[in-house]
């Protein structure tokens, strides 16, 4: 009973703080693995997709748990099982397809993958990924100085298509008016009223998604070419509209 209370306390703390959530998940990895094993009817490894699904299901359980929903671990177990079943159904459509990892049946243990001609530019891809990683780390550091993490941005991200396009409009305004971006970096304040006036989007909408807009505008500042290249579609759409 006492331990149950401690869990609930830890869960409520984890809801607020992503680091504490990570710690809690780390502490309950054996539980998550055991639940995955129960579903798979075999010992699960970290390489299983099901294990990853179980992990995020546990995180969902943390974020979605309320005191009225009964004991936390029972709730988490239920959620993990439901998510694994959902995932299993989704994956069922791939049945009948041969995995590339499947062994050919030869004596040397070669897989199907090995027989295919590889046209990937591994070195180029690795270099790009490395550059992107560095950009992301820099961006994370800048965002940190604004007191915002990627987790916060993900929570704050607009979900409705209409809101998303409204926010995209605001971001395009920022791109078109570079002085606003400079002002943002200089004053460390989001020029919401000017953005609202320029884009014609309601200030309330901007207020509600201020973290998301901040992250997106920071990406538009100098030095994040890889990420901007990834977001090319968003900006291009804007060009078409204007």
């Amino acid at each position: 009973m006492k331990s149950e209370h401690q869990i609930i306390k830890a869960v409520y703390e984890a809801k607020e703080d992503p680091r504490k959530a990570d710690d809690l998940i780390q502490a309950y990895i054996p539980f998550i693995r055991s639940e995955t094993s129960k579903y798979l009817s075999r010992l699960s490894t970290e390489q299983d997709d099901e294990y990853s699904i179980a992990m995020i299901a546990f995180y969902e359980a943390i974020m979605g748990y309320e005191k009225g929903r009964g004991a936390f671990l029972g709730y988490a177990a239920l959620l993990i099982r439901s998510r694994l079943i959902d995932y299993g159904r989704k994956e069922a459509r791939h049945q009948g397809h041969i995995s590339l990892e499947e062994e050919m049946g030869g004596e040397d243990g070669r897989t199907l993958m090995d027989t295919l001609a590889d046209e990937h530019d591994y070195y180029g891809e690795f270099a790009h990924r490395e550059a992107t990683r560095q950009e992301i780390q820099e961006l994370a550091a800048v965002m940190e100085s604004f007191g915002v993490s990627f987790s916060d941005v993900a929570d704050n991200c607009p979900k409705q298509e209409r809101t998303l396009s409204a926010c995209a409009k605001v971001i395009r305004c920022g791109v078109e008016n570079r002085e606003l971006l400079h002002e943002l970096l200089r004053t460390r304040k989001l020029p919401l009223s000017q953005l609202a006036a320029l884009s014609g989007v309601e200030r309330k909408t901007l207020e509600r998604h201020r973290k998301y807009i901040l992250a997106m505008l920071l990406i538009q500042t100098n030095g994040y070419e890889c990420i901007r290249g990834h977001l090319y579609a968003v900006l291009k759409k804007g060009g078409r509209v204007s």
Partner: protein, 311 residues
């Protein structure tokens, strides 16, 4: 759709989709900077907490409102005057009751009523019990006697009156059954109202000492409003005057006839005359003759006057 992995946690990864969304997805051994094409998005099972709290408020507020209505309703049922019962023995009191027959106020309508209520504090708020207590007090204070009369005037709407008429009557009769026998009249509605009711009580004060109930025929009751007292005073006076005078006059004539001749005294005179004649016939005793002379002259004078008239 392509997703750029931005941040990796133990259980989840934050990815940026190429349409500009930041998403939390299952971390399938991702690395920061990696671009993936297929993710398993995190789905929050909770409903909007704001919505839930609002929903939780509504029944609370609604139930409180309902309770308030019930309490107020109860208050109005119990504390607002709904009907009045005028109880007239001679002391007349007005008992205000609520819809649930709870006694709210008792007021004396006439002086005796006020006297009856003086120092009375009802133990119970039940109409029946209060009426019992008041009747007991009336008996105790000497207002209600054997063969007395209680008039209950019910002032309320028709429904209440019909439902309580017999019930009140029965209750009082049962209560007084083994104590004292009285007549209970139930007058429904306001047709009599306060004015006639007061007259009843006035009338009763006057009637009770003389002749309980009997004299109060309908005629007197009707005329009471117009000339109550004078009418009443006249009848006994005249009665006494006529009967009494005649009686006394007769007695006087009996004694004083010898000196004063009267037409009505003829009988006595005759008898005296007869007696004198007898005396004469006996022919003895002058004294007797003298005594009878005076009596004798009278008939003579009478005779003379008669003869003169004849002449």
């Amino acid at each position: 759709m392509k997703y750029l992995v931005m941040e990796c946690h133990t259980a989840y990864a934050v990815v940026l989709s190429d349409d500009g969304r930041f998403l939390k997805v299952a971390n399938m051994r991702y690395e920061v900077g990696q671009t993936v094409t297929h993710v398993v998005e995190m789905v929050l099972p909770q409903t909007d907490p704001k919505k839930q709290t609002r929903r939780r408020w509504i029944p609370a507020v609604a139930s409180m409102a309902a309770c308030l209505v019930l309490v107020l309703g109860g208050f109005f049922m119990n504390h607002m005057p709904y009907a009045s019962v005028y109880m007239a023995i001679n002391p007349e009191v007005r008992i205000d009751v609520s819809r649930t027959d709870r006694v709210l106020e008792i007021t004396g309508v006439n002086a005796d009523g006020l006297a009856l209520l003086e120092g009375y504090e009802p133990d119970s708020r039940d109409l029946d019990l209060v009426m019992d207590a008041l009747v007991d007090r009336a008996i105790h204070m000497g207002y209600l006697h054997e063969g007395g009369n209680i008039t209950l005037t019910l002032d309320a709407n028709h429904k209440w009156v019909t439902s309580h008429e017999t019930a009140l009557n029965d209750h009082l009769e049962r209560y007084l059954e083994d104590k004292i026998s009285v007549t209970i009249d139930i007058v429904s509605q306001r047709q009599t109202q306060s004015q006639p009711a007061q007259n009843i009580s006035d009338g009763q004060t006057a009637v009770i000492p003389v002749e309980p109930e009997s004299d109060y025929g309908d005629s007197d009751y009707d005329s009471a409003t117009e000339s109550g007292d004078s009418d009443y005073d006249a009848s006994p006076d005249s009665g006494f005057g006529v009967d009494g005078d005649s009686g006394y006059d007769e007695a006087d004539s009996n004694y004083a006839d010898a000196a004063d001749p009267d037409s009505s005294d003829s009988d006595y005179g005759d008898s005296a005359y007869d007696a004198a004649a007898e005396d004469d016939n006996s022919g003895n005793g002058n004294s007797a003759g003298r005594e009878s002379d005076s009596g004798y002259e009278e008939p003579e004078q009478d005779d003379d006057s008669d003869s003169e008239d004849d002449d």
